[in-house]
Symmetry: C2
Subunit: 346 residues, 2 copies
DNA sequence: TTGAAAGCGCTAACAC
DNA sequence: GTGTTAGCGCTTTCAA
């Protein structure tokens, strides 16, 4: 492992001063074409590559052209699409992107964020976990820009790109109500995830509009995996009065519900996923657009990095209820077998 | 935007020398607890964060604790899972990860790789696109470690983590042959992707074992999207002698085949995907394990970074043929209408 | 058009 | 236990 080449090496090789090399590398004027050619040649011969860290050190105040992006789980297609959009936006601006997954752990998030800041990132796109993010404040005071996406951050006034989770969840529930469903179950991922609790609020609100209350038996929260969601659905369907419809709070719980194989119960899930339209029945969902969210967050971040100091903005992107079949399974058939008494009551 | 805090600021605030601050920050011995406490306090008050770039500059020869990872498309679940595994391995070693997508463009790859090298990455995990990668050689000569994953790299002797694409594709085709299929179509993504052409070779080889040759009419290569794959399948099925089985060369083409809605034709795809087992019929696949591939690549890279100078290694991870139903659709029904005799009739 | 000197924030090596 | 000096690779400033 030989040591890395420096401008000194190039200068020596080309028989010029280090300063001339610098000028050539940075395309600055005032170098004879002939001299420049000699330098270029030396650069090629030695495989020299500018050390941006050293460069950055001297050009104090200039951006490092690095941003950090911290998502919940990069392996989740939703966050992967979001990350890809951020990366595209960054590349267009000649930025590189540090990536990390918090895995919904505040400690891990803090650790990764610290590592990003130590590399002097100009900005951070953050899918924050629950908990206090006061530790971000001092970095922001020193000039690092932060934009939250998918979730807002606790106790910190920063730009955010969100969707209206309550309304979107409400749309899903309303859709089920319109099909005649009254016994609608809620399948929730971890409760401490902001999006999930918002969706629960939306779920309850729309039931409330109809004078209904969520049946505690039909509300299953804190499901941490696809398998747990599947088990929960199996239990629900084994109840004396099973639900006629399910609202699943995210992609994982939706897949769990599908795993459980209860095809006759109506289902609307939050988040779209590949091939949802090819299942039997095709799965109805409320969808958000992760690429658009990532793109918007990047846009916001780069405008801040470029000096935009206007008050923090909140961007609410739209969602869409996509009816495909699973949400249009009628309530009647099941309701009849379900409990004549209960049905009569409604 | 105030300027960032430095050790100087902390030293002044704590009334000590900058060297004492450095010792405290780096947990070096030989500082009175009392002094250390004063420094710690100042650090907290100022929100000081060590500048790792400057640190790295002085500790020449020491690793920067940054690696780069360049995949084809981060939004593709296969690469997302791979990236996540790399990230986990990196975090355990207190490394951060720069991410990029090449989008199958050599220019874009070169651009991103250059940006990574300029940041002095200790290593690079690369899913190389087609074309010469000579430009990597000079960086490697200067000590940057490179590991290729999913695909080998042209004209460069580096560590690689692959699967035996020929054999895996052969397994799929053999499986179809065992079900009696003889008219098996090949649906291929871009031809210049190494994995795809390898799979085609495997496809032909196993047909050859049976004394068969691929029917040019049934070989569709260069399909660049799910939609193109769907259209190709539709065309195939409209042939006078349609195939009785399809072998799709990756997840995108598999999904395209599913989109085309020809449920009666047998199908085995390369790469598993979410809910493949829940489709009608459930989709049979040959699967590789992207997380394992990413993990193995990271392992290899970090052992190189730690000084392992043994000759380049090639790691071949295993694949698995997963029969779920779509690959077990019998050939008979269709074959009848299909046989040479019947062909004459048509 | 080119170069010499200073210094970015930090740490290695050596004082005290 | 603490401080001083020098210098990492680069760019800024100023001189030639």
């Amino acid at each position: 492992m030989s040591t890395r080449r420096t401008m000194r090496d190039v200068a020596q090789e080309a028989g010029v001063s280090i300063m001339t090399v610098s000028r050539v590398i940075n395309g600055q004027p005032g170098v004879l074409p002939e001299t420049a050619a000699r330098v270029e040649h030396a650069i090629r011969r030695l495989g020299y590559q500018r050390n941006d860290a050293a460069r950055q050190l001297r050009r104090r105040g200039q951006p490092t052209q690095i941003i950090g992006m911290l998502v919940d789980d990069l392996a989740n297609p939703f966050f992967a699409a979001l990350a890809r959009a951020v990366e595209d936006a960054a590349r267009q601006r000649h930025y590189v992107v540090l990536i990390g997954s918090s895995n919904d752990s505040l400690d891990r998030e803090r650790e990764v964020v610290a590592a990003f800041f130590a590399r002097q990132v100009d900005g951070l796109i953050l899918v924050p976990v629950a908990g206090s993010h006061r530790f971000l404040a001092s970095q922001m005071a020193q000039g690092t820009k932060v934009v939250c996406v998918d979730r807002p951050v606790d106790g910190l006034d920063v730009d955010r790109v969100l969707v209206d989770n309550r309304r979107a969840a409400g749309d899903a529930v309303r859709h089920l109500l319109e099909q005649g469903h009254r016994r609608i179950a809620f399948l929730g991922d971890r409760d401490d995830v902001w999006t999930i609790s918002e969706r629960y609020v939306g779920f309850c609100a729309v039931l409330g509009e109809q004078g209904l209350e969520p049946d505690p038996q039909l509300v299953r929260r804190g499901l941490r995996s696809r398998a747990e969601a599947a088990a929960a659905v199996a239990e629900l369907m084994a109840l004396p009065q099973p639900p006629t419809a399910l609202f699943t709070s995210n992609d994982l719980t939706t897949m769990g519900a599908i795993d459980s194989g209860h095809g006759s119960v109506a289902l609307v899930g939050f988040d779209d996923f590949a091939l949802a339209d090819k299942l039997t029945p095709p799965v109805s969902v409320v969808t958000q657009d992760p690429a658009a969210m990532g793109g918007a967050a990047a846009e916001l971040l780069f405008s801040r990095i470029s000096g935009d100091t206007s008050p923090p903005r909140e961007l609410i992107l739209s969602t869409r209820m996509v009816a495909r079949g699973s949400g249009e399974v009628p309530a009647t058939a099941v309701t009849a077998a379900d409990s004549p008494a209960a049905a009569a009551g409604q």
